[in-house]
């Protein structure tokens, strides 16, 4: 059987499937005998007690390690378990409809959620996530299921899942997972980014792969074309073995570029840096011939802790490791960018405030100094060991940048008072990912040392497209004329104001976009380490003048489609081998 999806991370992998299933609302439903009613009610009641106990444990842990405000969320969860409207309805459903208890819970909850969703009250609609959270725990306890945990894998597997959350990927055993395939997702969803970071082939957006694959099936993941083959016949299997070795040859040809500089044919140097998601990737930087780190993400420390905030000391050790590893090259450390799709339940912040336009990233940090200050201090302390820069995400107005700088100064004076070393002249960067930041780039440029354009969010905010919504995912267009104009505007304004500008979104490593970015005069490109060789190959195949011409023509078109087919034909002439192996469609 062959399934087609979105190629998220290149490479070919052949292996055994592991169906990783989160117990959402997929529960067995069957009718029971009169005589079993009492037994099912008992089952429900003891699951209630167990779930309550689990929640109280989590609550007291959070209370101890964080604060009672955060623990309060779980009090509401516990109240739901005691709710007469819920408990009585479930018992009624078991007795009258003669349903097994798990199915009864599921039905009753669905009714409640439906009732909530019709109400014109955002707070209430937001409670749906809380209810689902409690109930999936409850159903798991009724069914007596052990949650599969990807941290304790013994054999190499290809993980097949509906989706993978940041906490799933953060906790998994990286040595044993050799591929991903998921029902949902796009090139820029978390699973895809993570797969590229870990250098394992992945295909996402497959629709219903979880209903076709069983644990133990033989699967082939073709991350170049976006295909997954389930239990292929002998002939296809042989073909893929050959394909796999050909691809490895191509990768070897790229590795020859490792020690060559990233310069255009006419000698212009472009800084190539890496996006680092987890410390495990630090060793890849040199392996792929990159220089420094253009985006050091700090979310993993917060996600891995699960139920408490990481201490200043832990953060300091982590940042210091990265700074020392790449010295004398730079590490650009981005402050916490949680919220949106990277929401961490460990912070105990209600899910409804974590949306794309909600209390996330710099907003969250400015609101909660108990999260922000330890991180600022940790980054400053790490800056004593090499070349660290600091960067603030999701700046949408200059006041946020100013306030963040005030807090940074506060952290500096604390450290000075305590006699701890740091780099007093640490460079400060602004991430440009909200359209208002592009429009006010001239104002922001006067108050910071560099810009880094986060193209993923910039595209989403500018085109009003949430990339995880499959219905509209095709509207996420990196080559939309609006996006190209905004990027050009930022680069021009940065240079007018004498500061440098980098790109750290997915666009920085897109073979069709790189010529345009060179043509616009970008100073630095930061990408996942694995993409560095091919981008270097592209840079080394053009002159700046050619790139400027391509950019000028591309920007004269009216639609993303026209731009794409034009840039594709130009790219085919100059670096066909890169395109042959790497998916040329942009999404």
């Amino acid at each position: 059987m062959l399934l087609e999806g979105v190629p998220a991370s290149s490479g070919i992998q052949i292996g055994t499937a592991l169906l990783f299933h989160r117990e959402d609302f997929d529960v067995p439903t069957y009718t029971i005998d009169e005589s079993e009613i009492e037994k099912e009610i008992k089952k429900f009641e003891s699951a209630l007690i167990q779930t309550r106990k689990e929640l109280e444990e989590i609550q007291s842990k959070i209370q101890k390690e964080m604060s009672s405000i955060h623990a309060g969320i779980f009090s509401a969860h516990i109240l739901l378990l005691e709710d007469p409207m819920f408990v009585d309805e479930v018992k009624k459903e078991i007795t009258i409809s003669k349903l097994n208890s798990a199915a009864a819970v599921k039905n009753v909850v669905q009714n409640i959620i439906d009732q909530f969703s019709t109400m014109d009250n955002e707070y209430l609609r937001g409670r749906e996530a809380d209810i689902r959270d409690v109930v999936s725990r409850l159903i798991q306890n009724i069914l007596g299921k052990e949650k599969i945990d990807l941290s304790s894998l013994k054999k190499e597997v290809i993980v097949i899942s509906h989706d993978l959350s940041p906490s799933d990927t953060a906790l998994m055993n990286k040595d044993k997972v050799i591929g991903f395939a998921t029902d949902v997702g796009s090139k820029t969803s978390h699973t895809a980014i993570m797969a590229r970071a870990l250098e394992i082939p992945a295909v996402v957006g497959l629709g219903k792969i979880t209903s076709y694959v069983k644990t133990g099936d033989l699967v082939i993941i073709d991350g170049n074309r976006g295909r997954v083959l389930i239990n292929p016949d002998g002939e296809v299997y042989e073909e893929y073995l050959i394909e796999q070795s050909k691809f490895q040859e191509f990768e070897q040809s790229l590795s020859m570029l490792k020690d060559m500089p990233a310069v255009t044919l006419d000698g212009t140097h472009i800084e190539l840096a890496c996006n680092i998601e987890v410390p495990e990737e630090l060793s890849s930087i040199q392996k792929y011939g990159a220089k420094g780190i253009g985006l050091y993400r700090t979310e993993y420390i917060f996600i891995r802790k699960r139920t408490e905030l990481p201490s200043e000391e832990e953060q300091y050790e982590s940042y210091k490791e990265a700074v020392e590893k790449v010295a004398p090259e730079a590490v650009i450390i981005r402050t916490l960018d949680l919220g949106g799709d990277k929401f961490a339940s460990s912070l105990g912040i209600p899910a409804d405030v974590g949306s794309m336009m909600g209390l996330r990233a710099i907003r969250l940090c400015l609101q909660y100094p108990f999260i922000f200050m330890p991180q600022l201090r940790a980054i400053l302390r790490a800056s004593a060991y090499g070349n660290a820069k600091i960067m603030f995400p999701m700046i949408s107005r200059v006041e946020e940048l100013r306030l963040a700088k005030v807090m940074l100064d506060q952290a500096k004076s604390e450290l000075e008072y305590e006699g701890l070393p740091f780099d007093p002249n640490i460079e400060i960067g602004t991430m440009i990912e909200v359209p208002s930041a592009v429009v006010t780039a001239d104002i922001l440029a006067k108050e910071c040392d560099f810009f880094s354009i986060g193209t993923n969010d910039l595209i989403q905010y500018t085109l009003a497209v949430h990339r995880v919504n499959e219905e509209i995912a095709h509207l996420y267009e990196p080559l939309n004329p609006a996006i190209l104009r905004l990027i050009k505007q930022v680069i021009d304004i940065a240079h007018e104001n004498g500061i440098w500008v980098g790109i750290c979104g997915e666009m920085a490593s897109d073979p069709l976009v790189v010529p345009l970015l060179i043509g616009m005069g970008v100073d630095e490109l930061s990408m996942s380490p694995i993409a560095v060789p091919e981008v270097k190959k592209i840079i080394r195949s053009l002159t700046v003048e050619e790139a400027q011409k391509i950019t000028q023509v591309a920007m004269s078109f009216s639609t993303a489609n026209e731009i794409e087919s034009y840039v594709y034909s130009e790219a085919m002439e100059r670096f066909p081998d890169v395109l042959m192996w790497i998916d040329h469609r942009l999404h």
Partner: protein
């Protein structure tokens, strides 16, 4: 904890049957001991609610709830 949770907590302390409704919609009254029920009232800040109690400790229940809603204003101030 949010006001709805506090209300349910307080109502849960009493043996009486306690119900609550918004504005004049008595036909849509809900069990005050149920968080889901109270949430479906969708009684935002500034709305008018009526509390009914029936049972052996009805007086104490009404006093306790009045204290929470009117005097302590859900401890929000």
């Amino acid at each position: 904890m949010k006001p709805a949770g506090l209300l349910v907590r307080e109502a849960g302390k009493y043996k009486s049957k306690i119900s609550v409704y918004k504005d004049n919609m008595e036909h849509r009254k809900v069990n005050a001991k149920s968080l889901i029920g109270v949430l479906t009232l969708a009684a935002g800040k500034g709305s008018t609610v009526t509390v009914l109690a029936d049972g052996e400790d009805e007086e104490q229940a009404l006093n306790g709830l009045e204290d929470l809603i009117v005097r302590r204003k859900f401890d929000e101030e």
